[in-house]
Amino acid sequence: MMGAMSDSERVGQEKSVVAETVMVGPSPVVPGGMGGEPAHYDMIDAIRRGENVEPTVHEELGAIDSVIHMNDFKLWYGAAQAIHGISMSVPRGAVTALIGPSGCGKSTLLRSINRMNDLIDGVRVEGGITLNGAAVYEPTVDVIELRKRLGMVFQKPNPFPMSIFENVVYPLRIDGERRKSVLAEACERSLKSAAIWDEVKDRLKESALGLSGGQQQRLCIARAVVADPEVLLLDEPCSALDPVATIRIEELITEISERYTVLIVTHNMQQAARVSNYTAFMYLGRLVEYGTTEAMFQNPKLIETAHYVSGRFG
């Protein structure tokens, strides 16, 4: 096996994996595997070599009612392939977390669901995604309508430079809603469900840019839910926030998951453990393991997952 490795692959490994011991195989021997004996990252190695690997999907996910389903979904940025055929289902009415090291394609995958990647030149896709059974990538799909069915919150809070009220009702405004009473009612409802109503109810007419970072992010969540989306897509919503604001957002996600399906990308393992019901571990554009959060954190089937969630790798 050693002989089959080219030099360049070895260099690549040395760069990306911190090895404390002597390199004896394709992957470093990691001390303290699950049973205490040395372990190899077979799955990760195969992915690095570009082989197609079968993801480990727990049985609990076999019987779920899925709202989003991906079928061998592939995506290229120009000539570079970023997603290598992912098949997975997102369960309805639950919080699903996507975890994995930087550049593993989590955000890309998330943005593929509401076709935000269409905005980037040279993006090409293969395979399909369905939202409630309807294909997302078909020429007959209206992207605008699709995006209205999905709420999205971005990494950096991005309130628009207008008043708090106008920010929240923006999705309704662009839908042509003009009735003041409807807008006011929707604004109050979604600000309440984003747990920010008490803080801003007296200054709805003031600029949203005057809010703190955490408040801005909750405002963005209020904006994302105002049009009653089918799924809420959160792209690392807490990565630009301080710990206190992060906790508020996490509580909010738990609260909001009673009403909406949530798909969240996160870098923070504890966050995934705290807020999500299901967790998917991705690596270099491929799904590695997918199961309930409990199982993924307490009793994962792959050693890679165990080491990743406990912070020993990645």
Binding site: N114, D118, D142, I144, N158, M162, P171, I174, S207
Partner: protein, 692 residues
């Protein structure tokens, strides 16, 4: 390095500072009333005047006025020649309606007996300078008011009657032209062909109505078909409608002989009526003038002992009281009296028209012309530049093409402004303007069949180009194929052909004879000459690069996260641009508009070619319809400065005016910019929430 960079900055600021100080100091000094000196020269000559400058050889420049008696109004006097200088209490400087200033000693006021008629005796009512000055103070305001009333009447009522007479005369000329046009009447489309076009238009309208929601909201493929259908129908309806309207077979250009005779008779009647009216008003004006002529003012000049005459050719009659614009008894004035004179001179400067080949009086029409020109150019250039920049930044595919366009736009900013002037004169005034006046050039008019053919072709090509554009874009998530590339190239070609065809269709239409043919035939074009509209369009073209570059930068500085947020909410591209990008870029866009304004306000060279004139007291705005007379030539401060300084018959007399005009120009540009900056900061405050 700090010293080098710092001193460079200091040098720049210093030069600007010196310029400003020079302009402000000289501009303010001009209207300050100086003391009047009476000099006795060694030759025995007595000279009266105000010292305005001195040179290193001990010579003094005196403003001595009194051009009527044949002297230069400014005179260098050697310091050695001066034997005696005094400042007589009763010396006055008269600012007169004509022939510049007059220095002298007031002697008396004469009143002509009403019964005495024109040549009645003049009776002295005051004698001696003190008494005369006192009486002058009482009588002058009334005399000036009477004169102003007379002049207003002359300008307003007589002007109105004159315009009426002119209109009646033009109606006759138009009627004559109409008969001629009837002779050459362009062939009309037959009823059959016209009905066919009508059927097409109605059919397209019905299709549009039935399919107006087709493809909305059902994705790329459906949207494409729907858009294509709607676009095609709208184009056919709009263009077909226009064609049907201009080319209707029942419409016949020109008029018959009988109609002309009717117009001529009506116009003769109208002219007669107006003539009577004219005589009546003129009588009233003359009566006022006669009263004016009854009050005379004698101011004796020391050298020859002559008084200020009523006119240069009538040196034996003293001037009328009402001819005095302002009397400055400078040597008697207290400081506050001088401030008052200073203020009244400034007020006159900004509120009245020029006199004496622009060297005296005010610059009110010049201010109006400059401000109007600047506003119009901003109104033209801002939307155009913003739309162009929006396309370049938001819609166009970034690549070689857009880079080339950017470089070209930046280079346009470096083209000498006189080139724009030449272009404006040739294209706007002589081509577009002539077309507006008289319609297509004779001989280039197409036959109606050919014209309809070209017209239809342009519609078809436009629809094809639109379709190619739609199908030339691959579905999102797919790679463009060769077919897509070819189609999108074809679309560009199609649009180009459409534009060329449309220009041809408009320029060679047999159905348009011009709006102002009669006047143009007399050699006095309306829009076919130099005017405010073409000048502001030329300057808009000149300042376009500034706006495009500034707007592009402003659009690029709107963070992408804002756009993503908007798209994520389900906004379309146009909704995102309108609600997020444009408001966010607004401060930058206004900065561009301000820069364009500043650049445009300061341009003179192109204006000399396309519309600025030495003197035009007819303001481009008035209370008579259409209120904004964009066809009129106008006065402009920049050109006014050039004219005063270098084209004036008495440049020495005009020099102070150059300073004040420059100062005023700077103030106006500053005020315009300040207004725009204030608007911008208000907007910016709203955008960023800094006000909270």
């Amino acid at each position: 390095m700090v010293w080098l960079t710092g001193s460079a900055l200091v040098l720049c600021l210093g030069m600007i500072g010196v310029l400003l100080v020079l302009v402000v100091a000289n501009g303010l000094r001009t209207f300050w009333p100086g003391d009047i000196d009476r000099l006795t020269l060694s030759s025995g000559e007595v000279v009266m005047g105000i010292k305005t400058a001195e040179d290193t050889q001990g010579r003094f420049l005196y403003r001595v006025g009194n051009r009527d008696i044949g002297q230069e109004s400014f005179r260098w006097i050697d310091g050695d020649e001066i034997e005696h200088v005094e400042q007589p209490e009763d010396a006055v400087m008269l600012e007169r309606e004509a022939w510049g200033v007059w220095f002298g000693i007031p002697e008396s006021i004469l009143i002509q007996n009403e019964e005495g008629g024109e040549d009645g005796d003049l009776v002295k009512v005051t004698d001696g300078s003190g008494e005369t000055l006192e009486a002058f103070g009482e009588m002058h305001a009334e005399a000036r008011n009477r004169r102003a009333r007379g002049e207003a009447m002359r300008k307003r009522e007589l002007g109105k009657i004159n315009r009426g007479i002119e209109a009646a005369r033009l109606a006759v000329a138009e009627a004559e032209l109409g008969v001629e046009q009837r002779g050459y009447a362009a062939d009309r489309l037959g009823w059959v062909s016209w009905s066919f076009v009508l059927v097409c238009v109605v059919f397209a309208g019905i299709v549009w109505w039935v399919r107006r929601d087709a493809g909305v909201g059902i994705g790329a493929a459906g949207v494409r078909v729907g858009k294509m259908t709607r676009f095609g129908c709208v184009v056919v309806v709009i263009f077909g409608g226009v064609g049907l309207w201009v080319g209707g077979p029942w419409k016949v250009a020109g008029m018959t002989g009988e109609q002309r005779d009717g117009v001529i008779a009506a116009s003769a009647l109208e002219q007669e009526r107006l003539q009577v009216e004219y005589e009546r008003v003129l009588g009233a004006v003359r009566a006022g003038e006669r009263i004016d002529a009854n009050e005379r003012f004698v101011v004796i000049e020391p050298t020859t002992g002559r008084f200020s005459p009523i006119a240069q050719t009538r040196g034996d009659e003293p001037m009328m009281l009402s001819q005095v614009v302002r009397l400055v008894a400078a040597n008697q004035l207290s400081f506050f009296g001088k401030v008052k004179v200073f203020g009244s001179r400034w007020w006159e400067f900004v509120s009245t028209g020029p006199r004496e080949a622009n060297t005296e009086g005010g610059v009110y029409p010049v201010i109006v012309g400059t401000v109007l020109l600047t506003l119009l150019l901003t109104i033209f250039v801002t939307p155009l530049g913003v739309i162009a920049a929006l396309y370049l930044r938001e819609y166009a595919k970034q690549g070689f093409g857009t880079s080339v366009i950017r470089v070209a736009v930046n280079n346009l900013a470096g083209v000498p402004s006189i080139v724009y002037g030449v272009f404006g004169l040739g294209f706007f005034c002589y081509t577009v303007g002539r077309y507006v006046d008289t319609g297509p050039v004779e001989g280039s008019v197409l036959e109606s069949g050919v014209w309809w053919g070209l017209f239809g072709l342009s519609v078809v090509v436009a629809i094809c180009a639109f379709g190619c554009g739609l199908w030339g874009r691959p579905d999102p998530g797919h790679r463009p194929r060769v077919l897509h590339r070819v189609l999108s190239k074809l679309s560009w070609v199609g649009w180009g052909v459409t534009v060329v065809l449309l220009v041809m269709v408009v320029a060679r239409t047999p159905y348009f004879m011009g709006f102002f043919g009669a006047r143009a035939a007399e050699g006095s074009p309306t829009f076919g000459g130099r005017g405010l509209l073409w000048a502001s369009l030329t300057l808009a073209l000149l300042t376009l690069p500034v706006v495009i570059v500034a707007t592009e930068e402003a659009i690029a500085s709107v963070p992408n996260s804002m756009r993503e947020g908007s798209y994520g909410c389900g906004a379309s591209k146009w909704q995102t641009i309108r609600r997020i990008v444009l408001p966010g870029a607004m401060p930058g866009i206004l900065t561009g508009a301000i820069l364009a304004m500043a650049r445009g306000a300061g341009e003179v060279a192109p204006l000399m070619l396309v519309g600025a004139v030495k003197l035009n007291m007819d303001l481009p705005v008035s209370t008579t319809a259409p209120f904004l007379h964009a066809d009129r030539s106008f006065m402009h401060l920049g050109f006014h400065i050039y004219d005063l300084g270098f084209q004036s018959p008495d440049s020495q007399a005009a020099r102070p005016m150059v300073w004040t005009t420059t100062l005023l120009f700077l103030l106006i540009v500053f005020a315009l910019n300040l207004t725009a900056i204030m608007i911008r900061s208000k907007l910016r405050g709203r955008m960023t929430g800094a006000a909270i």
